[in-house]
């Protein structure tokens, strides 16, 4: 009989099979190193993995279904909950897809602000990645350092839009607000210090024996495998494919800024780590250039398209027709033309795509969210066999998966 207040060993997670000595280990869904609700069923021969079954869906909220029942502007805050580490990049992906569907041109100042937000989000995401991965490997110091810098960036975004994690800082047709006065000074202050900070992390990790043992030649993804599994972002570039959507299919102002796309042909955890560090430096480079572009732009923040986008607040409050338009757009929603569009953007995690099929109604007929992490989780099926238990943690770490995005 079960007794109260008495702890008993309870082997729920392990099944022993005496016949072929194979053990099935259940990793997650509540494992701190699984970066969310990932459940891995691992078939083991002693410490070595012979088969891996990633099991997802623990955070499934049916965003695609929700999108079919929401007007376009209403869906914007929901996109925040996909990759909640860098939510502005999701907002942007969705806004861009709808803008392409409508055929809108966004004012230049809005573009500059969007670029700033996107790159700040990339830095936030990479810092978060570094912090958590280093923590998983056991480097607690790096976690504290990286979170300190991320905190600064979160404060910056908070100064802009009032939110720290789920920003909803981008609207279809532009951005809702202009930058606050102190934004540029704070940003530059941060950027001036960032190279030192990155050097600190690298001093701690680059030649660290434990880090190298856990990272070098672990989780090697070949070029064919990366392409076949639909990898994107750093996962793809670390495997020898030079492909960055910002560079190859530039959107926003990425064709006006100078930056390099670091890549590597090693394909292992260490290569991915080096790419994340290099990308942070590139982001800083982009941010400096974009910050200089801000001066001299005209103050419009939203595109002028009365059929789809509400007029500026001043006009709504003073002009009758603008108020009527606004009322219709808020209560009924905009009605994009009939057609379909697939727009990819380079989010910090990889290729974030929005497929929208519009039938001319205020609700999208079908919206498909192409989240990079989905396939970066799927690849674990082929990547993990042959590795050992401790490698699982470091491989999950460098795939940089976020479960808000995997399950949607």
């Amino acid at each position: 009989m079960q007794q109260a207040n008495r702890l008993r060993p309870f082997f729920e997670n392990i099944t022993f099979d005496r016949v072929d000595n194979e053990m099935i280990l259940n990793f997650g869904p509540q494992h701190p190193s699984s970066h969310g609700q990932l459940r891995l069923m691992l078939h083991m021969q002693q410490e070595q993995i012979t088969k891996a079954h990633p099991d997802i869906g623990y955070l499934h909220r049916g965003m695609e279904k929700m999108a079919e029942n929401m007007i376009y502007n209403e869906f914007m805050p929901t996109t925040d909950r996909m990759d909640y580490i860098a939510s502005s990049s999701n907002n942007y992906g969705f806004a861009l897809a709808v803008e392409k569907l409508i055929g809108l041109e966004v004012p230049r100042r809005a573009k500059v602000i969007r670029m700033l937000l996107l790159e700040v989000n990339r830095l936030m995401s990479h810092l978060f990645w570094l912090a958590t991965t280093a923590l998983d490997i056991g480097a607690m110091t790096v976690f504290l350092y990286a979170f300190r810098e991320r905190e600064y960036l979160m404060d910056l975004v908070e100064d802009y839009c009032g939110a720290r994690l789920t920003h909803a800082a981008i609207r279809i047709g532009g951005v809702p607000l202009d930058l606050p006065d102190n934004f540029m000074t704070d940003l530059r202050k941060f950027l001036d210090k960032l190279p030192e900070n990155i050097k600190d992390y690298e001093d701690l990790l680059d030649k660290n024996r434990v880090w190298l043992m856990r990272m070098e030649n672990v989780g090697v993804i070949s070029k064919e495998m990366a392409l076949s599994w639909g990898c994107s972002g750093v996962m793809l570039r670390a495997s020898g494919v030079e492909w960055d959507i910002r560079k190859e299919e530039p959107y926003e102002l990425y064709d006006e800024v100078e930056f390099n796309v670091p890549d590597s042909d090693k394909g292992d955890n260490y290569a991915r780590y080096k790419l994340y560090m290099a990308e942070m430096r590139e982001s800083a480079k982009i941010l400096y250039q974009v910050a200089d572009m801000y001066e001299g732009t005209s103050p419009e923040l939203m595109a002028h398209a009365p059929q789809y986008i509400s007029a500026p607040k001043l006009e709504i409050m003073t002009q009758n027709y603008a108020l009527m338009q606004h009322f219709v757009l808020v209560t009924q929603g905009m009605r994009p033309p009939v057609g379909e569009v697939y727009i990819p953007t380079e989010s910090p995690k990889g290729e974030l795509g929005f497929y929208i099929n519009s039938q001319g109604g205020p609700y999208p007929y079908r919206l498909k969210l192409r989240a990079p992490s989905f396939w970066h989780t799927g690849i674990l099926t082929d990547l993990l066999p042959g590795h050992y238990i401790p490698d699982v943690v470091s491989i999950i770490g460098t795939t940089n998966i976020v479960f808000g995005e995997v399950d949607r």
Partner: protein, 268 residues
């Protein structure tokens, strides 16, 4: 008279549409405008039937027969340098045409081009898996099956991926309501207590997050812990909270609100 609500599409509808409203179209361009796409389309046309082809928002859309899907993707991958399948899924047109539309979003990194292959299948029809060509289709096809019930032939593991394996119904179909159907509402109850418990629990109590304060089998209240299984419907005895730090927590002991400093610059 009760307003008519169509049963084949229960998604949200706009409550008002102007009588004279004509929805504009996203422009479709002829494929001949783009030389790269023309070459790709000719390669497909040489071997397969092409039902429709056009360029929309800088991407080519090619509509093919559903049973050609594997061969067309193989051709694109091996001969036209479309090395990546970015995305694939289905669209539910059951209400209007009784068909599913399946799209494959392809990417060629060498040509910097994206194209979309589309085909239509009937509700009960199955489609050939492209998992042999693109491993990522393994999960995409499972997701498509999970969400729409489109069965994929020759798939290595045709199981649900996001929803639980014993789920009934296909959530992204237009007939599936946003709030879920009856099965979804009672899923936890059926699974934990059995179907016969539906009446006992009742619709008002089926919330899985609900806590029964008289249930000492699973829950207890802080300060009122009692031995397992005790009947406390008549009230439970108090168990006073005792902290290890009898004199208070030592670190907070010396806190003096008067001497604390408010930092003006929160960044540093």
């Amino acid at each position: 008279m009760r307003a008519y609500t169509p049963k084949d599409n229960v998604q949200k509808k706009s409550y008002y549409t102007d009588r004279f409203w004509v929805a504009p179209q996203v422009a479709k361009f002829d494929v001949s405008q783009d030389t790269v796409f023309t070459a790709d389309l000719d390669a497909i046309k040489a071997k397969f039937d092409v039902l429709d082809a056009y360029i929309q928002v800088d991407q080519m859309v090619v509509v093919i027969n559903a049973n050609d899907n594997y061969a067309v993707l193989e051709l694109l991958k091996n001969e036209c340098e479309y090395t990546q399948l970015s995305e694939m899924s289905a669209i539910d047109w059951l209400a209007t045409e009784g068909k599913f539309e399946i799209f494959y979003q392809m990417l060629s990194m060498a040509k910097r081009k994206r194209l979309r292959i589309k085909c239509k299948i009937d509700e009960k029809e199955a489609i050939q898996s492209v998992e042999k060509l693109f491993r990522c289709a393994d999960w995409s096809e499972r997701e498509m099956y999970d969400m729409f019930g489109v069965v994929v032939n020759n798939h290595p593991c045709m199981k649900r991926i996001l929803m639980p394996e014993d789920w009934e119904g296909f959530p992204l179909r237009k007939t599936y309501p946003l709030q879920g159907d009856e099965f979804a509402a009672w899923y936890e109850v059926d699974k934990i207590f059995g179907k016969e418990a539906r009446e006992i629990i009742g619709p008002e109590n089926r919330d899985p997050a609900r806590i029964d304060r008289y249930d000492t089998k699973r829950f207890s209240r802080l300060g009122h812990e009692v031995p397992f299984g005790t009947d406390i419907s008549q009230g439970e005895p108090d168990t006073p909270l005792v902290y290890q730090e009898q004199e208070g927590v030592f670190m907070v002991d010396k806190f003096d609100a008067q001497k604390s400093v408010v930092i003006s610059d929160r960044h540093r």
